[in-house]
C-alpha cells in the first residue's frame, strides 16, 4: 500500500509544454506549430526574459555562448551512443561534462528548444539515460516537460500510424502507387519507434496522373482538403493543398506530392525519374508495409529538405541525415553520390559541424575543416518571413542576400573548404531573383486563371 502522504493541492502540479508567459520580448516572435498537431506554442527568438538567463537561440560557432541548443545536440549525441540496460558513463561524457558545461538556464530552456527542433522524444530518452549524479542537476520541470512532450508525441504517433495504415490499405486497393516520404518512412527505417520521430504532416508521393485519385481515396477515409494553397505565391507547387482529418484528438495533415522537391529547388524527384530502386519499409507486425525512396534519392531529398529556407535548421532533420548516413553506410552507393550528387556529400559533411561523425571519416565523407563556416545551425529565413519581418529595408536586403555561410554551403552544395565568393556574388542573387520571379508569375496566374485543387 502506498504511503499515507499528506494531500496538498499544490502537489498536483500543472505543467505546460509551452510557457508563453516566460517570454516577455516580442522581437522576431515565432509561433511554431507543435509538430504533431494544431496546438501552438509561442517562442520568442532574441530577447530573453528579464528574470532568466535563458537565451533560446542558435549557437554561433565562434561566440562561445552556451545555449539550450548546445545542450540539445549534446544530449542527442549522448542518447545515440548510450543504450540500456548498461547506460553507464561514456568516455567524453563524464559527470563533469554536464556539470561544467550547462547550468540551470540551459536545462530550463531545453524543453522549448527540443520541441522547436522536433527532438523532444529523443531528448526525453537521453535524459532518462543520464547517470544518476547528472540527473540530479536536471530540474524536475525540465525533465517532466520532456516526458510530457514525449507522451504527447507517442499518442500523436499512434494516431498518425493508424491513419497511414488505412491510407496504405486503401491506396493498394485503389491501385494507386504511393511512397512514404520523410518522417513517415524514417520513423520505421531509422528510429527504434515511430514516436521518436515527430512530424507535422504525412507526406506521400504519387504519380502526377494519380493525384486526384489519391485525393478521392483520402477523402473517403475522412480527409478534407483545402481548395487551394493558403499562399497565392504557391503557384505550381510540388504537392496539392493539404488535407486534414481528426484522429484520436489529433489533427492529422496529409500532403500528396507529385514531386519530392519544391519548385524553388533545382531538379526533381518523381516516380518517373527515380535514380535507384525503392526500398520496402517494414512498419511493424500486422501493419501494411510501405515503400520509400531508395538510399540515393532519400539522401537527395533529405539533404535538400534540411537546408530549405528556415530561421534555424531543425535538429531532427540533421539527426535524420546523421543517423541515415551511418546506419546505411555500407548500402549507399557513395561513388554514385559523389559523381552525380556531390551536393549531398557536402550536406552530409556539414551536419558534422552540429553532430559529430558516428564513423571514422573516410575518402568520401572526409573530416570537415575547423573552424567551420559561420552561422552553424542557422538558416535563411523564407521569403514570406523576410517580407513580413518588422525590420527596415536594409535589414531585409541583408536577410535576402547575406544568409549564414553554413547554410549557403548546404543549400548550394559548396564544400566548406571552398569559397562562397562566387555564390554570394552571382549564384545566390540569381536564385533569389528566380524565387521572386516564380512568385510574381504565380500571383499573376492566380489573378487571371484561379486554380483549385487538382489544377497543379
Amino acid at each position: 500500500m502506498a504511503d499515507a502522504l499528506p494531500l496538498h493541492p499544490d502537489r498536483c502540479e500543472m505543467l505546460r509544454p509551452s510557457h508563453p508567459d516566460y517570454w516577455n520580448g516580442h522581437n522576431d516572435r515565432m509561433v511554431p506549430r507543435f509538430p504533431d498537431g494544431d496546438v501552438k506554442a509561442e517562442h520568442s527568438v532574441g530577447t530573453a526574459p528579464p528574470d532568466s538567463t535563458c537565451r533560446s537561440q542558435y549557437a554561433e560557432h565562434a561566440t562561445g555562448v552556451i545555449t539550450a541548443y548546445d545542450l540539445a545536440r549534446d544530449l542527442l549525441v549522448y542518447g545515440s551512443i548510450v543504450t540500456p540496460p548498461n547506460a553507464q558513463q561514456v568516455s567524453g561524457y563524464k559527470t563533469d561534462h554536464w556539470h561544467g558545461q550547462y547550468g540551470s538556464g540551459q536545462w530550463h530552456c531545453l524543453a522549448e528548444e527540443a520541441e522547436y527542433h522536433g527532438v523532444a522524444p529523443l531528448l526525453s530518452l537521453a535524459v532518462a539515460r543520464l547517470p544518476e549524479q547528472v540527473r540530479s542537476i536536471v530540474a524536475d520541470s525540465a525533465r517532466r516537460t520532456l516526458q510530457a512532450l514525449a507522451l504527447r508525441h507517442r499518442r500523436a504517433s499512434q494516431a498518425r500510424e493508424a491513419v497511414i495504415d488505412r491510407l496504405l490499405t486503401e491506396f493498394t486497393s485503389g491501385g494507386v502507387r504511393v511512397l512514404l516520404l520523410k518522417g513517415a518512412a524514417l520513423a520505421h527505417c531509422l528510429y527504434a519507434k515511430p514516436e521518436l520521430r515527430p512530424m507535422a504532416d504525412i507526406d506521400i508521393l504519387v504519380d502526377a496522373d494519380d493525384q486526384m485519385r489519391a485525393v478521392a481515396i483520402a477523402e473517403r477515409i475522412g480527409f478534407v482538403f483545402a481548395p487551394h494553397h493558403a499562399s497565392s505565391f504557391a503557384g505550381n507547387f510540388h504537392h496539392l493543398p493539404p488535407g486534414t482529418k481528426q484522429q484520436s484528438g489529433y489533427t492529422i495533415t496529409l500532403e500528396i506530392h507529385r514531386d519530392v522537391l519544391p519548385p524553388d529547388q533545382v531538379g526533381s524527384i518523381t516516380l518517373r525519374n527515380l535514380t535507384v530502386p525503392l526500398q520496402t519499409i517494414n512498419r511493424g507486425q500486422d501493419r501494411p508495409q510501405g515503400l520509400a525512396l531508395g538510399h540515393i534519392d532519400m539522401l537527395r531529398h533529405l539533404t535538400r529538405h534540411a537546408f530549405e529556407p528556415v530561421a534555424r535548421v531543425r535538429l531532427i532533420h540533421l539527426h535524420d541525415l546523421w543517423q541515415y548516413q551511418a546506419r546505411f553506410h555500407d548500402e549507399i552507393d557513395w561513388p554514385h553520390l559523389q559523381s552525380r550528387h556531390p551536393g549531398v556529400i557536402t550536406a552530409l559533411r556539414l551536419v558534422h559541424y552540429v553532430l559529430p561523425p558516428l564513423r571514422e571519416p573516410d575518402g568520401v565523407l572526409s573530416a570537415v575543416p575547423r573552424p567551420g563556416p559561420s552561422g552553424i545551425g542557422a538558416g535563411m529565413l523564407p521569403l514570406s518571413k523576410i517580407a513580413g519581418a518588422p525590420v527596415g529595408p536594409t535589414t531585409k536586403l541583408k536577410m535576402l542576400f547575406d544568409p549564414p555561410a553554413w547554410w549557403l554551403h548546404g543549400y548550394y552544395g559548396i564544400p566548406p573548404e571552398h569559397s562562397l565568393r562566387r555564390c554570394r556574388l552571382m549564384l545566390h542573387p540569381a536564385t533569389v531573383a528566380r524565387w521572386l520571379a516564380r512568385r510574381l508569375a504565380a500571383v499573376a496566374r492566380s489573378r487571371f486563371m484561379p486554380s483549385n485543387l487538382g489544377d497543379a
Binding site: 500500500m1 502506498a2 504511503d3 499515507a4 502522504l5 499528506p6 494531500l7 496538498h8 493541492p9 502537489r11 498536483c12 502540479e13 500543472m14 505543467l15 505546460r16 509544454p17 509551452s18 507543435f34 498537431g37 496546438v39 501552438k40 506554442a41 532518462a128 517532466r144 516537460t145 516526458q147 510530457a148 507522451l151 504527447r152 499518442r155 500523436a156 484520436s248 484528438g249 489529433y250
Partner: protein, 92 residues
C-alpha cells in the same frame, strides 16, 4: 459550481494517465498541458468513476489511511476542484 462532498466526479473522456519513471503523468491531447500527480492525487483520480460521490471517496481513503490528517476531506475536495479546473474531471 463549487465542489462539495455530495458531488460526483467523473473523468473526462480522452484524459489519460501514465506511470512515467515512477510518477503519474496525466495528459489530454486537446490541451497543451500535462499534469503530474503525486501518488495520493493519482489514487483520488482513480476513485473518480462518475458513480461514486466525493463523500464516499473520502471514506474509502480514510479507511485505507487511518493516519491521514483530520482535514483529509478538505484536501480531497481541493484536489478534485483543481482537476476539474484543469479539465481533467467533470463534477456533477
Amino acid at each position: 459550481m463549487g465542489v462539495t462532498l455530495d458531488c460526483i466526479p467523473a473523468p473526462i473522456a480522452g484524459v489519460e494517465v501514465e506511470l512515467v519513471e515512477g510518477e503519474y503523468l496525466m495528459y489530454q491531447p486537446r490541451f497543451s498541458r500535462a499534469i503530474y500527480l503525486n501518488p495520493t492525487a493519482a489514487l483520488i483520480w482513480s476513485l473518480c468513476d462518475g458513480v461514486r460521490p466525493l463523500r464516499e471517496i473520502v471514506e474509502l481513503i480514510r479507511a485505507g489511511y487511518p493516519d491521514a490528517p483530520p482535514d483529509l476531506a478538505k484536501d480531497i475536495v481541493d484536489v478534485v476542484a483543481r482537476l476539474e479546473e484543469h479539465g481533467a474531471l467533470a463534477v456533477t
